[in-house]
Symmetry: D2
Subunit: 309 residues, 4 copies
Amino acid sequence: MRLTADARGVYPIAPTPFFDDGRVDTASIDRLVDFYLGIGSTGITVLGQLGEAPKLTHAESVDVACRMIRRASALPVVVGVSAPGFAPMRELALEVMDAGAAGVMIAPPNALRTDDQIVGYYRQAVEALGADVPFVIQDYPLTFTVQMTPAVIRRIVDELPSCVMLKHEDWPGLEKISALRQWERDGRMRHIAILCGNNGLFLDYEMERGADGANTGYAFPDMLCDVVRLSTGGAREAAHDLFDAHLPLLRYEQQPGVGLAVRKYVLMRRGLLSAAAQRQPAVALSNAARAEVDHLLQRLARHDPRAQI
Amino acid sequence: MRLTADARGVYPIAPTPFFDDGRVDTASIDRLVDFYLGIGSTGITVLGQLGEAPKLTHAESVDVACRMIRRASALPVVVGVSAPGFAPMRELALEVMDAGAAGVMIAPPNALRTDDQIVGYYRQAVEALGADVPFVIQDYPLTFTVQMTPAVIRRIVDELPSCVMLKHEDWPGLEKISALRQWERDGRMRHIAILCGNNGLFLDYEMERGADGANTGYAFPDMLCDVVRLSTGGAREAAHDLFDAHLPLLRYEQQPGVGLAVRKYVLMRRGLLSAAAQRQPAVALSNAARAEVDHLLQRLARHDPRAQI
Amino acid sequence: MRLTADARGVYPIAPTPFFDDGRVDTASIDRLVDFYLGIGSTGITVLGQLGEAPKLTHAESVDVACRMIRRASALPVVVGVSAPGFAPMRELALEVMDAGAAGVMIAPPNALRTDDQIVGYYRQAVEALGADVPFVIQDYPLTFTVQMTPAVIRRIVDELPSCVMLKHEDWPGLEKISALRQWERDGRMRHIAILCGNNGLFLDYEMERGADGANTGYAFPDMLCDVVRLSTGGAREAAHDLFDAHLPLLRYEQQPGVGLAVRKYVLMRRGLLSAAAQRQPAVALSNAARAEVDHLLQRLARHDPRAQI
Amino acid sequence: MRLTADARGVYPIAPTPFFDDGRVDTASIDRLVDFYLGIGSTGITVLGQLGEAPKLTHAESVDVACRMIRRASALPVVVGVSAPGFAPMRELALEVMDAGAAGVMIAPPNALRTDDQIVGYYRQAVEALGADVPFVIQDYPLTFTVQMTPAVIRRIVDELPSCVMLKHEDWPGLEKISALRQWERDGRMRHIAILCGNNGLFLDYEMERGADGANTGYAFPDMLCDVVRLSTGGAREAAHDLFDAHLPLLRYEQQPGVGLAVRKYVLMRRGLLSAAAQRQPAVALSNAARAEVDHLLQRLARHDPRAQI
């Protein structure tokens, strides 16, 4: 099953679970996938930036992705294949596509500056991967320092039919969604899926601007599923109420660097990960920070019983 | 009255009010200052980055600062004097200090990279201004791309007695506050005031980590004053409750670029600014964005009557 | 006399002369201008990046520019007016144009990334200055971190008739000149002057690619004049011979940061500046570096008697 | 044979030869190594930035490095192992060390800013590789945007005994060499080898400042060997004469991006590479650029017969 431009709903960004000694924790992979299936996710993304992809060897990357793919069964799995060069990108992409991945996600290398450089990069990536591998643009300037205008995204979509989704995590980014959707309505651009990242910090309004869902790793993907469902179903205030209840914690988890430690700690407290461990380089959670997360969970539990952990 | 390391409370970052035709709106300056006085601010900062300082001529900068200083009367006014060179920095600093400013705020130029470059820059700034002008370090890597470790801040504080305050807006930044305060407790660093910026996005926990207050421009500085008061007074959950109620809007205003348009729009709706106008270059608020802010205000008003505007 | 797209030859970038105590050295300004006139310069640019423009107060900037303009008499003087905001840019531009400047030079602020941001910035600058002020685009990515493709330059030229010159200092940059000139030949872009900066590091081949001359501050502008004359006159190998003789020193002076100290030291040794002083922040010349420059001059003097100083 | 702090002479940066269809050209690898042996190189570095390392799969990287190592026989081979994460870095390092590599070279990832981050990164790298793998710091801010002060390099050298060499390519960088060598003379820092990169643009004076040789890929490594030999042997002016004769071409090859195309073209013209091909992404040489390189070679041949090709 290949990823298409009709993707919607929530594709959680799966963390890569490690034991404290640095080995990959496969039991937690299975537990995560089962959890994602149970909460109504419509897909999964693995080996993203916050999946610690660069810290894995090639063989480990393939193992992690394939285990997710097998376990996820009917659920489409998108695999992050961003790499400093096209040969390793191609190698990983072809292996995981063979293993049943639905598509791949590609982030731009941070030296790209001009519009032409960005479009040229995606063109070369498609030449390397083949035009039959569906791909997701990861648009995350805060991390990659690459700024894509709506017009650049449209050029990529126009030129490269295998581009089917935008992982939208520009900040600010609401107007970008509106611009792309307006072009679509005007018949000036074909439809692609827009799923939102950046820990979901603006998911409430992104849905109202025309996003199709979420593609991020917030430690309560079940909340993301609910908000997307409520918002899509027209229950606007209920969607905001639930989102707002999570916002204090969500904001805390969205911090660069330390954010992944927060996420893994909460996932561990939720019983989904055996350990909160990351491979190096990693920012550890201080005692004070851990206490703050506990406090945030406690406060959240007043509104959302899933936080009673 | 000079700024000292004992500063605390809330120093709102004052926007520079403009009419739609680009002229400075002095009546709104007066109204803002009166408002800041009325809500219990302990100081005011003018001509910050979000005070559109670079868009003013030198003469306009002096006029705006002096009008604030006179109107603020007993309240200390800190003036942003960041400039691409020391001669214009010195010129502005000396004029506003003569006019009664309490101190100046200095941001690092974005070419600085190494620890030595950063310390060297502040050393040269003090040589230019004179050692009797109290100054505030503005530590805002998201905007200035300059990363200061706690150790660099300590070096500046150790070497330069006129450094009395840190406008802390690193992100993530909680551990930085803890590190500086720990050194203080250990007698390894003299006390300086730490007031927090970055729109207050982490003010709730920053206070608990040892910050002395807020130094930011969120459109509800009265909320900032309340949160600082509640937190200082030990009413922890009440502080969080009030903060959390504002977080959806606060997060929306904290967006880079468009954030200032949000802030000025809300201040206009609150009757404090005659117009929401900015000078060029400026990001305008779309109709959709304006409607979202209205929606956020409406939702906020359920918790904080000050948002019923 | 206004700057037009027909500008050609050599516009030296004039340094701002200071005494060791930091005061502006007006006698050296006069001496420099007289020297530029004597060697066949076709114009002068003042208050560029290496004219230490950001280190001057507004009043000093006006004084330096006006003194140059008056002394240069019939020679067109371009004034750098780059500023962090349009109000100070406009103020300086209008004052110097009133005083007889031929045009202004505008560098892009280093936050610009996308093609649209760059074009938008120059559009707003022209709105601020008025469409009757001829301006030069400064395209220097190494210093400003802004990358302009040929297509972006063409968009600016197409949209803004007051754009008459490109100070070309992209690196590598030869293909950019060829692309712009090809569009001109194809009738797809109107002619603008292209004068080359970056200390002239590629002036030899830039002339052959279609540049109209040099616009840089190398301490032997008389060599630049000769190379431009020889190259324009078809004496290709003679142009390269002279250029190559200077290349060891020129490369040394082109170093970022310390380059200006080298330049001012050589200009002092040539009797054009009373002192090699810069205002802070400045990188000083070590004894070793000074000896290296002396050595380079000595070696150069074997080929060019002007280096016997 | 392990790399030690006594390394000196010339370690050419070997390009990775490709056929026009993108396959690795092993015959050219052998030819290059034989050539490096013949001209008096004292070592070889493979899989550097300009060895197109990121464009190879892991298996290809191992193959290229091992072929070099075997062919080089007694000559020490340093292998670039820079990677976005420590697991792939460790994997490659251990494989090539097993195969007889002399040591590895590690570039800092471009997100590093503060002194502590840089030192911390090298500490973690050594934890990943083991303290018995000799390593080279690659200090190339122009490409990596990471600025290391001399003090940071000293901290790394002090803390990590397996650090034995600096590939010095800061720009400007002469004072850095002097500072490190002064500390060495003062007994404040142990000796490490300093070999210079950046295409050798300042090799003439770098040798005089205390560098031990060159570690760069200029297409005439035989010239580098001669200059190092002449300079070390006290034939100062002869060293400069030879260096200056090459400077016009060397400067041309040192251009970012297009420089590798120039280098491979010259190496092909010299009969060392079968093809000038690069893998994507690559900047191609235009006809005009190729003609310029031919012209530069022709002019160089008047001084150095090795350029008669």
